[in-house]
Symmetry: C2
Subunit: 251 residues, 2 copies
C-alpha cells in the first residue's frame, strides 16, 4: 500500500532520488510558485508522474504534518538487508545503530544528520524502535532517499555480524570513562550505537561493544536529546576524517 | 498571566531551579509512581506548592504537548537584559544568537543542548523569531530553568554591544570558506550566530561578524536542521575547551 509523504523537500527529494514509485502528487491551488515547487512540477512532468492542483481543504486531515500544501502517494521505503549492506565496499565508513529510539522526529533528524555528515547507513531493530513513517520522512526533509535504512530482527546478531566483518562497535553511555572525541575514528569502519531517550543502550549491546564513550555534560544536566547527541559525535567523526585526508594529501 | 508547562522533566526542573512561581501542579490520577513523580511531589510539598490529582480527562485539551500526565501553572520565564548579562563575569564563555529560528521544537532543543554543552546564554530577537512558549519549555526538558534567555530588540545592536565588550562574533553560513572546527575558541568569549531554517543569517549580521564558518556537508545535501548544526558546533567548542584545560593542568 502507498504511503503519503508531505512537504516540498520530501516530495522533491523523492523525485530526485527516483527509487520509489510515486503514484500521484497533490498540490494546493493556493500555493504560490517558488523554486522548489517549480522543480517538483518539472521533475514530475519529466518522469511521467501525475500531479494535480486541489483545493486546500484536501490537506485538512494532514494538518499535523506541516505539509506546505504538497503531498505525494509513494511506495514505502525499501529497507536494506544487512548482508547486502556488508557486501558493498566500505572503507573508513560509519553507520549508526539505534537501540529503542521511539520518537519519529528523532529518527527523522538522525537520518537527515546522517546524510549531511556522510554516514553510510542507519540500522534499526524491527521491534521496540520507531520505523520509517510519514513523520520520519517529513522530519528527514527527504534525506531518507539518500541513505540505506537497514532493519534487523536482532541488534545483538547485527552487531556480531558487523564485528565479523571488521567493523568496530562504539557504544555511547553516560557512565563511560572516555569522551567520544578521544577515539581515533580514522582508518576503520565504525558502528555507533545510540540508545533510547530514557533507557539508554541495552546491557547485551554494551557488552559486545569495542569501546564505550560518553559526551561530556556540563551543569549536571545529563539530558541531551538523542539526535543532538548523535550530531555531536558524527560531526566529530567527519572532522577527524577530513583532517586526516588533509594530512594525507599534504605529505 | 500564568503559563502552563507540561511533562515530568519540565515540572521537576522548574521545582529544582525554584526561580519561577508555581501556582499549582496537576497530576493525572492514572499515573503510576516513579522516581521523577515522587521527586516532584516531595519538592512540591517541601516548597509549599499545591499539587492535585485529577482525572486524566483534564489533560485532553493538551494532547499535543506530550504531557505525561503532569502539568504546572507557572509564572512566565523572565528574560534577561543583555546589559545585565554583560555585567556578569565571563571568561572563555560562549553564547548563541538565533536569527529567525521559527520552530519552537528547534528553540527547545537548542536550549537543552546549550545547557548540556555549558553555553552561557541564548540571545533571541523580540521579532521574527519564536519566543519561549509551552512547546519550547517541553522540548527543552526543563533546561530553560538553567540558562539565561536574553531577548533583544535589535540583533545588530546586540552584536555591536557584544563586540564592545570584547566578545568575538562567529556567524555560520553555508558559503563560508573555513570549517567551524578551524577556529580556536579557547581564550575568548564567543557568540555563535545560527540562522533561520530557510533564509540563513541576515546580511547585516554577517557583515558585523569577526568570522564566518560553515559545517562541511557530504552528499550535496545541504539541509541540516538548525539544532543539529548547533550541536556539532557547541560540542566542538566544548571539546577544545576541555582539551585546553587538560593541556594547562599537565604543564
Amino acid at each position: 500500500m502507498d504511503e503519503i509523504i508531505f512537504g516540498k523537500n520530501s516530495v522533491l527529494e523523492a523525485l530526485i532520488a527516483g527509487e520509489r514509485e510515486i503514484n500521484k502528487i497533490l498540490i494546493s491551488k493556493n500555493l504560490h510558485n517558488d523554486t522548489k515547487l517549480n522543480k517538483i512540477k518539472e521533475l514530475a512532468a519529466k518522469n511521467g508522474v501525475i500531479f494535480q492542483f486541489v483545493a486546500k481543504e484536501k490537506f485538512q486531515p494532514y494538518a499535523e504534518y506541516n505539509h506546505q500544501g504538497v503531498l505525494a502517494y509513494i511506495s514505502p521505503i525499501k529497507y536494506m538487508e544487512l548482508d547486502e549492506f556488508l557486501e558493498q565496499k566500505h572503507e573508513n565508513d560509519c553507520v549508526v545503530i539505534l537501540d529503542g529510539v521511539e520518537d519519529p522526529h528523532n529518527l527523522g533528524a538522525i537520518i537527515r544528520t546522517s546524510v549531511c555528515a556522510g554516514a553510510a547507513g542507519i540500522i534499526i531493530p524491527s521491534r521496540r524502535n520507531v520505523l520509517v513513517n510519514s513523520i520520519v520522512e517529513k522530519t528527514s526533509a527527504g534525506a531518507i532517499n539518500h541513505i540505506p535504512v537497514i532493519k534487523v530482527n536482532s541488534l545483538v546478531n547485527a552487531v556480531q555480524k558487523l564485528k565479523n566483518n571488521d567493523w568496530w562497535i562504539i557504544a555511547t553511555d553516560a557512565s563511560a570513562k572516555d569522551n567520544y572525541y578521544n577515539i581515533n575514528y580514522c582508518g576503520m569502519n565504525s558502528a555507533i550505537i545510540m540508545g533510547a531517550e530514557h533507557a539508554g543502550i541495552s546491557k547485551s549491546l554494551l557488552k559486545s561493544s569495542d569501546f564505550i564513550v560518553k559526551i561530556p555534560m556540563m551543569n549536571n544536566f545529563n539530558s541531551l536529546n538523542v539526535s543532538n547527541a548523535y550530531s555531536a559525535i558524527i560531526f566529530e567523526i567527519l572532522r577527524q576524517k577530513l583532517n586526516n585526508i588533509k594530512k594525507e594529501t599534504s605529505k
